[in-house]
Assembly symmetry: C2
Homo-oligomer: 332 residues x 2
DNA sequence: ATTAATAATGCAACCGTTTGCCTTACAAAT
DNA sequence: ATTTGTAAGGCAAACGGTTGCATTATTAAT
């Protein structure tokens, strides 16, 4: 049996309510009593039972984090771990815990959310991916449960979200390549299902357009977020035409592209990845990559959610996190 | 306001206790009443409040997962993510949630644990690394709080743990290399602080001994778990003597080794990593690596912990998870 | 018809907090 | 001396469940 507020009360010769008020530093308790109670708490090594507190407060000070079920490979992507770091750091600072769950597959996702929300375990939820017509978002909106998403949702106005400016990030990359004299630029992205793919593709198209280059559908691929799929896509693309640069939506994809290129002995194709993973810098040649600042994305997601939960006035419902192209040998 | 057990009771014209007994499928309730209550639950879309339930049951059905604070690079190691997958899967199957925390640094770790245990948020705790003389383990033992560690603890008898047989895993690797004719085999490991480094080193030494090869301290390095540290260590080692094989305790380390070797134009040195990361197979040359089955480690850790919490009789307090050397070009 | 046994359900206390309101004690004002 | 005001702290209900025990209804046994 652990020590409760009553034990402290007995020890300090006051009522439980007084102890509670000392904990919250209520001004109705005299300094003398406060001292006495605090001493008792220290002697007994008292720590409040957060479960009991949650029950009365109707708040658990816990954030739910849902990792996507489909595309298990996403877990190999350091993005999630880094985002979790950011979330965890900010949450810890604000006294929140993180409850972590994963869905087994797409259909399961709403089920998992439903349990999480229904059980009243969490004060708010962080979604780490966004799809077109996202069922999870729809569900949380319907249940009016606080949440935030990492990625740009359909409804940019009412949902709370953080994201990079993916259009601009890719636009800048492609524009830079064009300025460097590249004309035939291929695009190999992950599944179109994810919004992030879509926006990066838009940035790609925009850069071509502004520079008066006609997009060539044979140079555009959207497959899975795997090294293998990218490898295959590249081989297919090359069969049609070898571009003078290839942009991708993920380092893992870039790795596949590079492998295909090297295998064919093709050397002068520029290559750019996303997420700036540790490995990209050690590749031969090292691969330029866009750093999306995943940890910062996580931090601001947590911030947005906690503010929302605590009804802190906010001037915005979203944050755009800066990206940065790290240039390496693959674009030299 | 969400729907409570009382709402269901009213709707079904029974008392709250009856509803509670229907939920737990208590045999004292007649089938007819059960049906009626279940119908009411369905109509009202009732979901039990787990906080309230936790308070009476003195069990939260939540597992605490502590990620190490020091060596942030560990987070770049897919081991943790994979282990989390395994933990999460098993926990989900058994109806447990995962509360996820990290320490900011080594000293912080006990502090974090103390809060977690004291607040009574979690029924048990999973530690993902083990050190010599581990403070966290000592603390949890002192508090008599259920926990399990991934890695072999000092006290193998009383602590619950899962691990690979790291001595054997490395022994097999080195023995194989020797059988292939290698004689000067270097060892580059992560920080000695972690037990895993120690055991793999022991396996290395054992294999040398059994094959009557004298260990050469100039061929043994223990640095950080980073690519960079490994790169430096390799350069240093080569300056002294170029071995004909190098074994490492992590793929990330192997990557650093490979980079140093390639840079010096050294080609015929065998190389082995640990953890079988996705990238190792795409390196040039591809790197042989020991698959430690991190997901399985996580699953069994969760299993051991949940059994312990639920007082399920167990025949063992630990599991040894099999490892497997995946041979690639770097050992051909 | 009365009693005993059993089945089905309700009552109320409890888990460890928080908080609205009441009580007490004392000082100041009339 | 009585009223009024204020400061300090206690009482008890509430949060949403669970569970030991009591109660009632029903059936079986005498």
């Amino acid at each position: 049996m652990s020590v409760t507020i009553k034990d402290v009360a007995n020890r300090a010769n006051v009522s439980p309510s007084t102890v509670s008020r000392v904990i919250s530093n209520n001004s109705r308790i005299s300094d003398a009593t406060k001292e006495r109670v605090r001493a008792a708490m220290a002697e007994l090594n008292y720590q409040p039972n957060l479960i009991a507190r949650s029950l009365t407060n109707k708040s658990t000070k816990t954030l739910g984090l849902l990792l996507p079920g489909s595309k298990a490979d996403l877990l190999l992507n350091p993005f999630f771990v880094q985002a979790m770091r950011g979330i965890s750091s900010y949450a810890k600072e604000k006294g929140y815990y993180i409850l972590f769950t994963h869905a087994d597959n797409d259909e399961d996702e709403v089920e998992v959310l439903s349990n999480l929300v229904g059980s009243q375990w969490v004060d708010g939820i962080i979604l780490t991916t966004v799809k077109d017509n996202d069922k999870s978002i729809a569900f949380l909106q319907y249940r009016k449960h606080p949440f935030v998403v990492i990625g740009k949702p359909d409804d940019e106005k009412i949902t709370y979200w953080v994201d990079n400016d993916n259009i601009k990030a890719m636009y800048d990359v492609v524009d830079l390549l064009i300025k460097k004299g590249k004309k035939n630029i291929g695009f190999i992205g992950g599944s179109h299902e994810f919004k992030v793919t879509k926006y990066r593709l838009l940035g790609y198209l925009k850069a071509l357009k502004i520079n008066n280059i006609k997009a060539d559908l044979n140079l555009i691929y959207e497959k899975d977020y795997t090294e293998e799929a990218a490898y295959e896509a590249t081989k297919e693309m090359i069969e049609y035409q070898t571009p003078d640069a290839i942009v991708t939506t993920d380092d893992l994809i870039a790795f596949g592209v590079q492998r295909a290129l090297l295998e064919q002995g093709i050397e002068d194709v520029s290559l750019v990845g996303f997420n700036n993973t540790v490995i990209s810098q050690y590749k031969k040649p090292s691969i330029s990559s866009v750093d999306i600042n995943a940890e910062k994305l996580g931090m601001f997601a947590a911030k947005l959610l906690i503010n929302q939960i605590e009804d802190t006035p906010m001037e915005t419902n979203n944050y755009i996190i800066d990206t940065k192209l790290i240039e390496r040998d693959s674009t030299k």
